[in-house]
Symmetry: D2
Subunit: 153 residues, 4 copies
């Protein structure tokens, strides 16, 4: 049986359903158990999704009557563009809904939102070893050839 995927803005009433997805996403990056993201950060990030001043946004995917995925994206300045860049920071599909097109639908909706918001491009980061995710990404975007250097302060 096929289920339609419906992408929409997250709502404040979604918190209890969104939180397990957010936890699952964070666990994938090792932020679980003693290393879990502090609730203070989760709560602040959540409140930012609903603050018109904050350029942070969240979409969720409904599939078979449940929240099946999330995507968080934000706008930021760029020195080489008039308008802002769109950084797709977080993307997650629940285990049970994988290989159904949820990730693709979430990314494509970010493309639409970013275009409406005047952005010239959408970009994201992935780990160089994440070949599984890259199978999807290679269909939807270009590997830019740019890599990230980072310094903890």
């Amino acid at each position: 049986m096929n289920h339609k995927i419906f992408i929409r803005d997250v709502r404040e009433s979604d918190f209890a359903k969104w939180k397990p997805l957010w936890d699952g996403y964070n666990a994938f990056y090792g932020r679980e158990g003693a290393s879990a993201l502090p609730d203070e950060i989760t709560n602040l990030t959540w409140s930012r999704f609903f603050d018109g001043y904050e350029p942070m946004n969240a979409l969720v995917a409904e599939h078979a009557g449940k929240l099946a995925g999330l995507v968080h994206y934000l706008f930021h300045r760029s020195s080489t563009q008039l308008r802002s860049n769109c950084y797709l920071q977080d993307l997650f599909t629940v285990e049970s809904a994988r290989r159904q097109g949820v990730g693709r639908a979430l990314i494509e909706e970010v493309y639409r939102r970013a275009a409406q918001a005047g952005c010239g491009k959408v970009y994201w980061q992935t780990h160089e070893t994440n070949t599984h995710a890259m199978k999807l990404y290679d269909k939807l975007a270009k590997k830019s050839g740019f890599i990230i250097y980072s310094n903890e302060l």
Copy 2:
């Protein structure tokens, strides 16, 4: 003869000296001639450096009485942090002042400014083929293992 490197905030009166560095930086990325960055973008970016509302900042390096380098950095939100991230977007040293520590001094000053601004880290992008720059970057930061996917809208 050794010259001391002095890093400072860019000033509105620096425009005529900063512009050739900015042009040199853009040329390195192929934005020259018919593909040059439009003046409209340069002028807007420049004005943003001096607008207290904008989280974009520029430092310049003085060396032997001249502007020898520039760095532009900006702050943006992150869903996994209370405070903002620091993205070092542009870095450039003029040909004649290379191998004198200008790049290192600029990056280290961004570290200081970002720490003052409450950031937990500073990050930047470099092309995977830019092994020359990586010699410096490997001393000052960590190759994160993350790569950039990008989609033009």
Copy 3:
């Protein structure tokens, strides 16, 4: 004959119709002729309406097949609130469409948008001599008792 008022987001294709309203609004505040607002400001403000990073927004009223009014509002921080404030900066109805409810419809739509954006209130300024406008404002909001001091730098 009555015409329905339709309030919607401004679109990039509206520029030629929006501009005369903006000019009319500015003229009301003495910004016309030699004192007119520079095009550079108008163009930058216009571009901000379509930049997802900018917390500036514009709505227009359609009435009898024409643009009959505009409202511009922005979100900004407040030290005494978790989320942002909504400042309704500009409101204008064309002469020919006055006393038809255009101003009221624009303000009420800003209320809806601000509530969606998590704001606790919407505020604006009016001159203490503008008793005509206050007839409407007194129905839709409260005179707060606060007055503005300002210092040109």
Copy 4:
């Protein structure tokens, strides 16, 4: 005996000294006891002072070895200016240090900071009945003639 007034950026280590001033300021506006500002707001506002991405800033006045006053100001967009406006939101001098020039010194330092940040003006609100404060304000700024309408959502 005269004491010199020293105005400086607030520091994270100032919290315990800044908090009683903030409480005193809020009490003046009736935000005390059962109506006190929630700690959640105070903590978030405090964190914003130290976040380079946030256009909120705080200065304190040192006088006779103590914190004698505070001022909070923020930058926000304006549709009629290229650069941002400076809104001086909060100003407070402790009872024991009044009539010593603390308020004036705080306002004048905001003028300097706002000018550096490219602002064309600094503005604030005061209640129309606050004739005591207006004695100072009339020396430092102009009563604009504009009044505030506000609607709770």
